[in-house]
Symmetry: C2
Subunit: 336 residues, 2 copies
């Protein structure tokens, strides 16, 4: 097994939390012991929670010393967890290697810098997929090098850059994606397509986006709610109905969601001024998609249906697959 193998595992782990880390980047970290054993593979899961490196360090230390579980359990937040790792590592990770999909941060944000954590714990080498170019976080590699820790940059860089596309885009103003549910034979209509686990994941994403855009036809046909009822404490996103007509039956459930602003417009310009925008709809919406929508999320059921498919010409690149019970989610980039 080589560096690419380990880095791919770290990147796969990060993909599990893609979008869910908003506004932070999705990052994964794998730790290999001095002897080459995989000790842990963890990811950053949510803004405010520990970075990937801290999660991987905690998991590796607990593996090497199970008594530490009780110690780390007392941490009330990422800062305390970080402090406990520094106090209790007992050089267990001395000589270890870390594979990180993004250069460890060098700044004190909501948590202290990850580069410093790896340095203090005596890591021998840090392999980094891609550099952090953000003004406030960059410089982690230098921190490590100054401390005499060897680094290597660029392992699986393309995959790591793909993983980070949403982060860089929403940091620069806007990241927009389209979500659709399809059967194995491309049917999007005629009732619910995807399973409960897939819809729960969709609701978790809806809860984070700045705005949800949906076509007027879909609103009239499907009479959707577009809420986040399948998750606890979800935020219901504002909705932009993209339509030339301004009259809608306001008994359609989406209009009755508390704390939601619904806008009806024949222009998408306002949408692309928001940071993180989800488009939903069927084949017609996908056929006429604005070029600024970069990614396509296909939730694919495990059934063929005796019905008409969505029919359009479109080329995609599948970047990652996730399983939700008997359904899958294809994370795709729109090529043309």
């Amino acid at each position: 097994m080589n560096d690419e193998f380990y880095m791919n595992l770290a990147i796969d782990e990060a993909w599990k939390y893609q979008f869910l880390t908003y506004p932070n980047p999705a990052v994964g970290c794998l730790i290999l012991s001095k002897n080459g054993e995989i000790l842990s593979c963890e990811a950053h899961q949510k803004a405010g929670m520990p970075h990937a490196e801290l999660n991987a360090v905690i998991s590796a230390l607990q593996r090497l010393n199970p008594n530490l579980k009780a110690v780390f359990k007392t941490a009330k937040n990422a800062n305390e967890l970080y402090a406990l790792a520094l106090q209790n590592h007992a050089n267990l990770l001395s000589g270890a290697r870390a594979y990180v999909s993004l250069e460890p941060c060098s700044h004190h944000g909501k948590t202290p810098p990850c580069a410093n954590l790896l340095k203090e714990l005596g890591f021998a080498k840090v392999i980094i997929a891609t550099k952090d170019v953000s003004e406030h976080a960059k410089g982690g590699e230098q921190v490590l090098n100054v401390a005499g820790i060897s680094t290597q940059i660029g392992v699986c860089k393309d995959r790591a850059d793909e993983l980070l596309e949403p982060f860089w885009a929403w940091s620069n103003g806007n990241f927009s994606f389209f979500k659709i549910a399809l059967t194995q034979n491309g049917v999007a209509s005629g009732g619910i397509i995807s399973n409960h686990a897939s819809r729960t994941h969709t609701h978790a994403i809806r809860s984070l986006v700045s705005l949800l855009v949906i076509g007027g036809n879909t609103v009239r046909t499907d009479r959707p709610t577009l809420d986040t009822r399948l998750i606890n404490g979800g935020k219901n996103p504002d909705v932009l109905i993209y339509s030339n007509e301004t009259k809608f039956d306001t008994s359609i459930p989406l209009f009755s969601i508390k704390d939601r602003k619904v806008t009806i417009s024949n222009s998408l310009e306002a949408a692309f001024e928001r940071h993180f925008v989800m488009f939903e709809g069927g084949g017609n919406a996908l056929s006429n998609l604005d070029k600024r929508v970069k990614w396509l999320l296909i939730y694919r059921s495990n059934e063929f249906k005796d019905a008409k498919n969505i029919s359009l010409n479109l080329k995609i690149k599948i970047m990652h697959r996730a399983e939700f019970d008997d359904n899958e989610l294809l994370w795709c980039k729109i090529i043309n």
Copy 2:
């Protein structure tokens, strides 16, 4: 990382050669050093070639002592490779663990028994996903236990049993599967759907099957060749055209393939008497599939096409995914 993690890697490796090992089973083997480092992960690739355990042992030994590459290169066949492993292992794998998707064989077939190999090299533990119940090969676990090697059975058993379904079925008389190429939106028609790498894989499978079954309508519409021109030295399978009509335009290319027997019949009974049978066709053939056809192989392109889908009701279970450049292959079980 736990036993399931390592066994899943071994099973994933085996899937790369699913069908291609015919009439042998697809088997994978991962070797973990005494210290827990992954040393190798290999599979049985083709009948007559080394078993998974031997491939993994060779790869692990070469990793630990690169000088052995030149030694192992001199082997002219699996038997010689086995002998060289016994002569040159220098206890490098003493104390190691092997994760094997199928119980190591205990018999002298085309190669000496794998259980004996693991024993002679001093493995400390062998983790086995599922037992070998074949009369001639079973008993490997006992060989290991008698030699004082600890074993564990049943890790990822369900996945390993799925992997072996074709093997048990063709050993018991017949295994039949259906192959189709689909776009992202379920279109099967209108020219070539899948890419070169996918079609090459199809040809490799065609070269091994006992019989290829195709519907009369597909023959008339697509005028196929059904050969194996994309691989070197491929065997062109006999063809059964499933049709009520017996007259076909014999200028259709499939009729002119050397050493091929073409049968036209309105009965499939003869097909299910063959060991390994591939069905090809479109949506109509899939809708009317015989219940004895157990698996569905979907080669999925990376494009949506502006055309009608295949339309039918069918539920599948995706067991494994493989990538062929920008296409994927879904290995599916037909549920109903």
